[in-house]
């Protein structure tokens, strides 16, 4: 989808989404969606590179994990982190391929994965054919940014209104079906929509030859899932998305190895950690469902401390507390 077209054809629904978005920001979701890192001091931050398998690397800075695929055709990133880290990210990427960045894939619109889009995109290039290049003069400028279609709606604004993110950070190409596929650097890549998980625009990225899934924020090892109910997120959809990862992953031996999973935050994993996390989210879902069935209000449900057995592992983040997770679960199940 062309950005210029988007500016002209702003659907009325966007206005509603933006209104809901403002309400969400007031409740602290905006901070959660950047995992509390939007005001962090990145000056001393270092990007660590963990080779995952074949051409896939996990880049770990002070923000969300970034996935890099580097090969003979060029480079592909899954998410871009914060713009304050962009220079360091670009310098790191240069060590892994002489060819330019061609693709950025955003797994959703959250700031910790998209804030660096604009700067990182300009460090890359789009390879285009003759008639396309002839028609659109700036078509080679910067890498393509791919995402599920709803991501654009959450990052842009109708003409005349201030968008929450700069235009240069918006996805340049979106998909609306179950998935979008690419073949790049010798392997098939599936970008698979996970309906109504954290939002209405989440994607998993599956590198088929490398057998690596980049899960985005649907899966973390250090916090509860940041579900944005106002943007279409649900706890039920999150459980299903996690179950989908479990089903996609094939273990090598005794529930270990095989398909590797890069989480949005935290350490590199395989299927076992996703099972653990999926089970946790499903168990909390069942408890909140029961609280609603018993007629408890949100405040009463929070008072029951339904995540207390999982808080030692997932409940220590100030930007997305157990109470916020319970509130999101409650509101999504109440709908």
């Amino acid at each position: 989808m062309n950005r210029k077209v988007l500016q002209i054809a702003a659907p009325a629904a966007l206005g509603l989404l933006l209104l809901v978005g403002r309400i969400a920001a007031q409740t602290g979701l905006a901070a959660a969606e950047s995992h509390g890192e939007e005001n962090a001091d990145f000056s001393k931050a270092v990007i660590h590179v963990l080779p995952v398998r074949g051409p896939i690397y996990m880049l770990v800075g002070d923000g969300a994990n970034i996935t890099l695929q580097a090969g003979k055709q060029g480079e592909l990133l899954v998410n871009t982190g914060f713009d304050k880290m962009s220079d360091k990210l670009i310098a790191t990427m240069k060590k892994y391929s002489d060819r330019p960045l061609q693709y950025i894939i955003n797994t959703n619109f959250y700031a910790d994965g998209t804030n660096g889009n604009d700067l990182i995109r300009l460090a890359g290039t789009t390879i285009t054919g003759a008639n396309v290049t002839a028609d659109i003069s700036d078509s080679r400028q910067g890498a393509q940014i791919l995402a599920q279609d709803n991501v654009v709606a959450h990052m842009s604004a109708p003409t005349g209104e201030k968008a929450p993110t700069p235009e240069g950070a918006w996805p340049t190409d979106t998909y609306i079906g179950k998935e979008k596929t690419l073949f790049f650097n010798g392997e098939g890549i599936e970008i698979i929509h996970q309906p109504n998980a954290l939002t209405d625009g989440d994607s998993l990225v599956f590198f088929r030859r490398s057998d690596v899934i980049s899960a985005g924020d649907i899966f973390n090892t250090d916090g509860y899932p940041v579900i944005d109910v106002a943007k279409g997120g649900t706890i039920e959809g999150t459980v299903l998305a996690l179950t989908h990862i479990v089903e996609m992953a094939i273990v090598e031996h005794e529930e270990e190895g095989g398909t590797l999973v890069i989480p949005g935050h935290g350490h590199l994993c395989d299927q076992a950690e996703v099972v653990e996390y999926r089970d946790m989210v499903a168990i909390v879902r069942d408890r909140v469902k029961d609280a609603i069935k018993r007629g408890l209000t949100l405040q009463q449900t929070k008072a029951e401390k339904l995540t207390s057995d999982y808080d030692p592992t997932y409940g220590h983040n100030s930007y997305w507390t157990p109470d916020q997770f319970i509130e999101a679960a409650y509101n999504s199940l109440k709908k």
């Binding site: 179950t243 005794e254 529930e255 590199l268 395989d270 950690e273 099972v275 999926r278 499903a282």
Partner: protein
């Protein structure tokens, strides 16, 4: 004279050290050879090991409230799920399994320095490497495994091992867990044909104090035994909904009272575990609880 006297004392002491070592000058980097095939001695803590622990039995474990709720909510139906069926016992727990254990050394071919000590556990066919070459542990964001990342050092004749990067796993296989930030310290102590393994698990989230256990192995010179553990996951429950995970809501697990019924000499509060229940002094409290219970029943 004085120097000569001290020199005689020093050489006598040095001889004594050599004699204690069986006249052999041993390299400092490998005091004892742990290599061999070792068989587990099941009679130690047998009920927990072969029949398996009973539901709701947390006695003697320094668990936190979070761990207790986690186990109370655990349903054994969870292990009917294909992705749970071959789930391995993590390194702090696997030495309690019905395992044949093989240990061997890996030497640098050029220097014969000890690079690593390998453990192979027949239970779940787990290979474990204990690095002895002084390498650092990986960063936090590296992959975690069932066995974790282990480094070892000799402390006298005791091999002491420190392990990080362990996946979430059992503290007791009735739902009690340690999470992926737990660390493990072990001591491997050989007394002739007996190997004592001491494990110390620390997990600030799920254990209020370190959990210390020991188990013994017998050197096995003749028995070849079973060294495999094939495990294939299958669908055991038909019609389970996608996203369904068996569990009990808080306070709704009907099996938590079974242990109390089967073991009337253990009060319910004692079976709920906690650090206090680890120590000998707790027996006095159990006696008092039983006396109070008996008095209440008389009334």
């Amino acid at each position: 004279m004085i120097l000569s006297y001290f020199s005689r004392v020093a050489s006598t002491a040095a001889m004594a050290i050599l004699l204690a070592g069986g006249f052999s000058i041993r390299p400092v980097y490998a005091q004892v050879d742990l290599s061999g095939n070792w068989g587990a001695m099941f009679d130690e803590d047998f009920p927990e090991r072969i029949p398996g622990p009973e539901l709701g039995d947390y006695l003697g474990l320094p668990i936190t409230d979070a761990n207790r709720l986690r186990a109370d909510s655990w349903s054994s139906s969870r292990i009917t799920m294909p992705e749970q069926q071959c789930r391995v016992h993590v390194s702090p727990y696997i030495y309690r399994g019905p395992t044949n254990l093989r240990i061997w050394e890996e030497k640098d071919p050029e220097t014969q320095a000890l690079v690593a000590i390998h453990n192979y556990s027949q239970t779940y066919e787990q290979n474990r490497t204990i690095w002895m070459d002084g390498r650092p542990h990986p960063p936090d964001y590296a992959l975690h495994t069932w066995m974790g990342f282990s480094t070892g050092k000799w402390e006298g004749d005791v091999l002491t091992v420190y392990t990080t990067h362990i996946k979430t796993g059992w503290v007791r296989r009735n739902g009690l867990v340690e999470d992926d930030r737990a660390t493990l310290t072990e001591h491997f102590i050989r007394h002739g044909d007996i190997l004592t393994h001491v494990s110390i698990v620390s997990d600030p989230g799920y254990l209020s104090e370190p959990l210390i256990k020991s188990q013994d192995f017998q050197l096995n010179l003749y028995y070849n035994g079973n060294w495999l553990y094939p495990c294939e996951a299958v669908d055991e429950v038909v019609g389970r909904k996608e996203g369904e995970v068996p569990n009990y809501l808080p306070g709704k697990n009907p099996f938590l009272t079974e242990y109390e019924k089967n073991h009337p000499m253990v009060p319910y509060d004692a079976a709920r575990g906690g650090a206090e229940t680890m120590y000998p002094e707790y027996r006095k409290k159990i006696k008092a609880m039983m006396a109070a219970q008996a008095a209440a029943e008389k009334k």
